[in-house]
Subunit: 333 residues, 2 copies
């Protein structure tokens, strides 16, 4: 191994919360940084982004980056379990901690999303740039409705470079079409979809955690250092990457899924449609089922529209006297 200082870490929280400071210091003090194990366990996504795809302008990364939440959502999907029961099973199997906050609230996935976005877009963004929403108390009913519409629900990290070079970076439960490869990623597995201008669409799948996959990544970093491969990745990398602009998460446009619970369907549908229309949102499909219960869920999907418009419309819908429960809003990828 060459003379010099080397750091190998799997600590994604530290890297994400202090990205700029850590990599600036590493640059200044000529410390080589190995952090393959910090994102997606055994999947060598850091090396792929930094070496194999270096010449690409990365357009998009979608990731299932947290094994615990993917295990919980898989159990809820396959066995119609409630969130609480699925979480309990995950804890019994050792896939979730006694305090599941970091996983269930999406923070762990957001840490990894920040690291990937900074690498892919040549940035030094702060962790606060990531919008985060987890799956705590996720309702199994939304999984069933998504299934009827041909979608699977995953906790998805989205890192997008738009044509104007601004970015979207967020972690949210999202609807993914069943025929997309990410929809088939089950249990504690992770997967990262990368769309690069030269290489096109790629997907990398493997175990996101566990002693051996993590050790595999740590040791591959150490071997790289012993071969002088790791010459301070970040410095090399960010200097030559196609940089994005600092603008993040402005004017996000998606298709959306809305679930609205009401007692008075016909009247409410008119009002809801009115509010959506006034906010430039057009409805793509509408699913309703007679449940025999007093509350009737009204499930709508929209065409592409601004997230700000959806947020505004939902606030208004929520104020209608016929609406009791919280309106559920999920993006559709």
């Amino acid at each position: 191994m060459t003379q010099g200082k080397h750091i190998v870490t799997a600590n994604k929280a530290l890297l994400a919360e202090r990205f700029d400071r850590i990599f600036s210091m590493a640059d200044e003090k000529k410390v080589n940084m190995g952090f393959e194990a910090s994102v997606a366990g055994g999947i060598p996504i850091i090396k792929i982004l930094q070496e194999s795809f270096m010449t690409n302008k990365i357009r998009k990364i979608f990731g299932i980056l947290n094994g615990t939440t993917n295990y919980i959502l898989t159990k809820m999907t396959q066995e119609d379990l409630s969130f609480d029961l699925a979480l309990k099973q995950a804890q019994e199997k050792g896939f979730a901690e006694a305090d599941p906050t970091l996983d269930v609230d999406g923070i762990d996935a957001a840490h990894k999303a920040l690291i990937l976005a900074n690498l892919a877009f040549g940035m030094m963004l702060d962790f606060k740039s990531v919008m985060v929403r987890g799956i705590r108390n996720f309702n199994v009913m939304d999984i069933a409705y998504a299934r009827q519409l041909g979608y699977t629900i995953k906790l998805l990290a989205v890192c997008k470079r738009r044509k104007d070079n601004s970015m979207e970076i967020y972690v949210e439960p999202a609807l993914i079409p069943n025929n997309h490869l990410l929809a088939s990623v089950q249990n504690e597995f992770n997967a990262v979809y990368v769309d690069g201008e030269a290489v096109g669409e790629t997907v990398f799948y493997g175990r996101g955690a566990g002693a051996m996959p993590t050790a595999n990544s740590v040791i591959s970093d150490i071997i790289d250092m012993s071969r002088d491969i790791s010459t301070n990745h970040k410095v090399w990398y960010t200097k030559y990457m196609a940089k994005a602009s600092e603008k993040t998460n402005q004017n996000i446009r998606n298709k959306y899924y809305l679930r609205i619970s009401t007692h008075d369907k016909p009247g409410v549908l008119g009002k809801v449609a009115g509010i959506l229309g006034e906010n430039n949102i057009s409805i793509s499909s509408c699913v309703q089922k007679e449940t025999g219960e007093t509350t009737i869920p009204l499930v709508l999907t929209t065409h592409k529209c601004l997230k700000d418009d959806i947020d505004k419309a939902v606030l208004e819908i929520q104020k209608l006297k016929e609406i009791k429960d919280k309106v559920v809003v999920l993006n559709i990828q």
Copy 2:
């Protein structure tokens, strides 16, 4: 770039047909070899095997390594096209050459399988070690039967290290369960499934050909060399990898799919079952459909059995006077 000799090539045929000679000479003359583009286009599978998974004992590689045949099989599966029509479409779209021999007969996939197997198992095997069967004149009927049984047919490269360290390396059309990620790989895309002792199950998916994905891999090799990453991969690699034994393709055991066309179903079924039984092959399922035609296809799947036994049994079945067409044999993974 360091002083020294560097070769970057995408020529899989040359590497596969002269593997030992080329890499031995590169070793002797200290030439750095970059060949990322030789297998699976934009998927960085060479780097992943040589760097990220170096500490793994690789147990298994399954690959969809040829975009042309995967495009043809996808069209046959999705649109019930005949082989000839699907090939014609592939040629019109530029996915198949005017002379499609290398692709359709499995030779291109076998070249890539040999390179992957030699890297993964630390070997210098000759191309003749690979058993090859392509998809020329593949019958769309077998795709339909596979679908009924819950399988998708892919031209699959199989590189397996068995517990006794002997190997299996072959390219064949094979039945893959629909819920396996490889079953969802469509059109001209490639995918490689790697099972390593430390890292576990992984899948890498992307474009297997095309100017830009190939250029991406070539350029990533050149950049590696300019950074001195590529210090003659092969030498580094094979010296430290868990080597397999030289024994290849002996006593292969699989489940098998058989389609037998006959005019006289009841009588033949008894004879066929008898022949299979005598050859230590037990039947797992049997599908028959009244087709209204004079020839009735009898479709059988077997439990795991020796390939040698299947070959022997099929020879005997083929000799029955009631059997006119060639018996179709496909392995099930």
